[in-house]
């Protein structure tokens, strides 16, 4: 699972959606892998406006990455190739291969296995 994907995920339990604690989810015991992908600066520029920056920073921090930028890069920042390359590496190339995603509201844990997170709920939580 790519780090960017976690920006668009919340707890699958219906009652958690209204709680701010359910987003973002929290990584535990994450094993990372770098998957090299073609650098597409335009793609990065286009998706950055849709990233929830605070959540992205918080999740990257939980994975042990240093803070990149205090606030979301805009206009001129997005012309800086160094920034774009760094975002490309973090958002797209950083893969969470094994580990768990945990809801800060209900505490439910979702397993990540071989790079795929599983959000199927046990019957008592449906």
């Amino acid at each position: 699972m790519k780090l960017i994907t976690a920006n668009f995920l919340t707890c699958a339990v219906k009652g958690c959606k209204t709680s701010p604690a359910s987003f973002p989810l929290h990584f535990r015991d994450a094993e990372l892998e770098l998957q090299e992908l073609e650098f597409q600066p335009e793609f990065i520029c286009n998706i950055v406006p849709r990233i929830n920056w605070d959540s992205f920073q918080a999740m990257a921090n939980e994975l042990g990455f240093p803070k990149i930028l205090d606030k979301k890069p805009e206009s001129d920042d997005l012309k800086d190739e160094k920034i774009l390359r760094e975002l490309h590496r973090l958002l797209l190339e950083t893969q969470i291969i094994e580990g768990r995603l945990i809801c800060g509201n209900c505490g439910h844990e979702y397993l990540i296995k071989e790079g795929i997170a599983n959000f199927l709920l046990p019957s008592h939580l449906v």
């Binding site: 992908l37 597409q40 793609f43 286009n46 998706i47 849709r50 795929i116």
Partner: protein, 233 residues
């Protein structure tokens, strides 16, 4: 055609029924199914191609991910109920794939620019569950405002009216059916038959389910034995 048990309708029994007659079958046939699904349907392709670069969307019930290569300028979080299919879909860049249930999607409210769910809602076994599935997708879409038309979803479901197809069903036939999937491991093996549950949609039924789910149908039509509709909230 295998017999259908539609008599019991508790939530647990509907889930168990779909588990046996839909989810488990896709787990078993994943790789053979995938080898037969590679050509994108034209209306789906067009819907995905015209999206603004940088749009973020969902492909709910992505199967082998055959729609993921269509547009690489948008980002798609694809999901499937079958882990085996998700594993096949996972290699399409720049997108991402997770395992999730259409009735309990792990996505925030009011966020996504688009969604597709192609040949999926017809696998839910009651009108109420099909409507809930559509409501769950609509929930994730950006609501329309005065300035912005909001997120759009494209839905496809198998049509009852397909008398020129190899199946030959038509108006008046049973809508809740078991459809055989025949698979052969090798030429010397005996063919193995799996049965998947389908609800065949009749004319205007998809639009009705969307309306009941609180959605607004923008466009709808018929393509290749399927009813389709584009809707917003």
């Amino acid at each position: 055609m295998a017999s259908l048990d539609q008599s019991s309708s508790t939530l647990e029994s509907r889930e168990a029924y779909e588990e046996m007659h839909v989810h488990e079958v896709y787990q078993q046939i994943a790789s053979h199914f995938s080898s037969t699904r590679y050509k994108p349907w034209p209306i789906v392709k067009q819907f995905l191609t015209q999206l603004t670069p940088g749009s973020i969307g969902l492909d709910v019930g992505c199967g082998n991910g055959k729609y993921l290569p269509v547009n690489q300028n948008v980002f798609i979080v694809a999901s499937d109920r079958s882990e085996n299919l998700a594993r096949i879909a996972v290699n399409h860049q720049p997108h991402s794939v997770i395992v999730a249930d259409i009735l309990n999607l792990p996505h925030p409210d009011n966020f996504f620019d688009f969604a597709i769910s192609i040949a999926v809602v017809h696998h839910l076994s009651t009108p109420d569950r099909r409507t809930q599935a559509i409501r769950e997708i609509l929930r994730t879409l950006k609501p329309p405002t005065k300035e912005n038309p909001g997120g759009k979803v494209l839905l496809y479901a198998w049509a009852l009216e397909q008398k020129s197809s190899r199946r030959g069903w038509d108006k008046g036939d049973l809508q809740d059916i078991m459809v055989p999937w025949v698979t052969k491991e090798s030429s010397s093996d005996l063919p193995k038959v799996f049965h998947r549950y389908y609800h065949l949609y009749e004319a205007t039924e998809l639009e009705r389910d969307i309306t009941n789910a609180g959605g607004l149908v923008l466009e709808s039509g018929y393509e290749k034995d399927n009813w389709w509709a584009i809707a917003t909230r």
